[in-house]
C-alpha cells in the first residue's frame, strides 16, 4: 500500500467556493497519476478549515494561508502551501518535499 493511501485530505481557500475546488481537481489529478487512493478529499473555507484541520492528515491551501494552520501542524497534520494551485507538478513536488510519497 502506498504511503498516502487512505489519508484524509483537506483543501482550503478563503471562502471554500473557488480556488479550493480547483485545488481539489489538481489534487485528484496528482493522486490518480500516482495511483493513490485517498480516504477523503474535503474542500472548505478557511474558517471551517481552521477548526477542522487537525482531523485531517494533509491540508492543502494557497501559500498565503499556510500559517493559519500552525496549530494543526503542531498536532501532526502536514500543511502544504501552494504558489500555483492549478499546477499538478508543483503539488507533486511539494508532497515529495513533505516526505509524503514512497
Amino acid at each position: 500500500m502506498a504511503k498516502m493511501d487512505n489519508k484524509k485530505f483537506m483543501v482550503c481557500c478563503a471562502n471554500g467556493a473557488g480556488s479550493s475546488l480547483m485545488m481539489k481537481m489538481t489534487l485528484q489529478k496528482v493522486l490518480t497519476k500516482l495511483d493513490i487512493k485517498p480516504a477523503t478529499i474535503h474542500h472548505c473555507s478557511l474558517s471551517e478549515g481552521k477548526t477542522a484541520s487537525q482531523n485531517y492528515d494533509v491540508v492543502l491551501c494557497a501559500r498565503n494561508f499556510a500559517n493559519m494552520f500552525d496549530d494543526a501542524k503542531k498536532k501532526g497534520t502536514v500543511v502544504i502551501g501552494l504558489k500555483n494551485i492549478m499546477s499538478a507538478p508543483e503539488m507533486e513536488q511539494a508532497m515529495k518535499d513533505a516526505d509524503l510519497l514512497d
Binding site: 478563503a14 471562502n15 467556493a17 473557488g18 480556488s19 475546488l21 501559500r63 498565503n64 494561508f65 492549478m86
Partner: protein, 160 residues
C-alpha cells in the same frame, strides 16, 4: 456536446471589454455589471468580493493575467450561477501578495455561484481554460464576443 462556458458567456451577454479601470475594486464592479443586468447577482454583490480580497489579499489573481474574483458558495446576492467575463487592455493592479510579488490581471472571470453542481462544472471548465495558454493569449486580444468564440474554436479545451 454541451455548451461551453465561453459560449454561455457570449450567449448570455456576460462580457465586457474596457481599455482601463481606475482600480481593481472598479474592475471587480465592472465585471459584475452584465451579471447585475441579467439578474444573476444583486447590485451589491461585488462588494462582498472586494471585502474578501481586501481581507485575504489578491489570492484570486493567478498567472497569465488571470483573475477569478468570487465570493462564497451560496453568497447573499448571488441569484444564479454564472461567470462575468471582462477583458481590460491595461493591467489591473491587485496589489502585492505575501511574497511581495505584484499581482496584475487583464482577464477577469467573476463567479456567481448559486447551484453547486453547475458551479462545479464552471470551475472545472475554467481550470481547463486557465491552463490553456494559447487560448488565454487569444482572449487577452479579444475585443468582441465573436473574438471569444473564435479563440475557443481555434484553441479548443483539451480532452482529459
Amino acid at each position: 456536446m454541451a455548451e461551453t462556458i465561453l459560449q454561455k458567456i457570449v450567449e448570455r451577454g456576460h462580457y465586457k471589454f474596457v481599455d482601463r479601470v481606475d482600480s481593481w475594486q472598479d474592475a471587480v464592479r465592472l465585471s459584475t455589471e452584465s451579471l447585475v443586468k441579467t439578474g444573476y447577482v444583486s447590485e451589491n454583490y461585488y462588494k462582498q468580493i472586494v471585502d474578501c480580497i481586501e481581507k485575504y489579499g489578491p489570492y484570486v489573481v493567478f498567472d497569465h493575467y488571470i483573475a477569478m474574483p468570487h465570493s462564497s458558495e451560496g453568497a447573499e446576492g448571488a441569484k444564479k450561477t454564472g461567470i462575468g467575463f471582462m477583458r481590460v487592455k491595461e493591467d489591473v493592479d491587485f496589489g502585492k501578495d505575501e511574497d511581495g510579488e505584484q499581482k496584475v490581471a487583464r482577464l477577469l472571470f467573476t463567479l456567481a455561484a448559486k447551484d453547486p453542481g453547475e458551479h462545479m462544472d464552471n470551475i472545472q471548465q475554467l481550470m481547463g481554460i486557465f491552463c490553456n495558454e494559447p487560448l488565454i493569449d487569444a482572449l487577452l486580444e479579444a475585443n468582441t464576443p465573436e473574438d471569444i468564440l473564435a479563440a475557443e474554436a481555434k484553441y479548443p479545451p483539451e480532452e482529459e
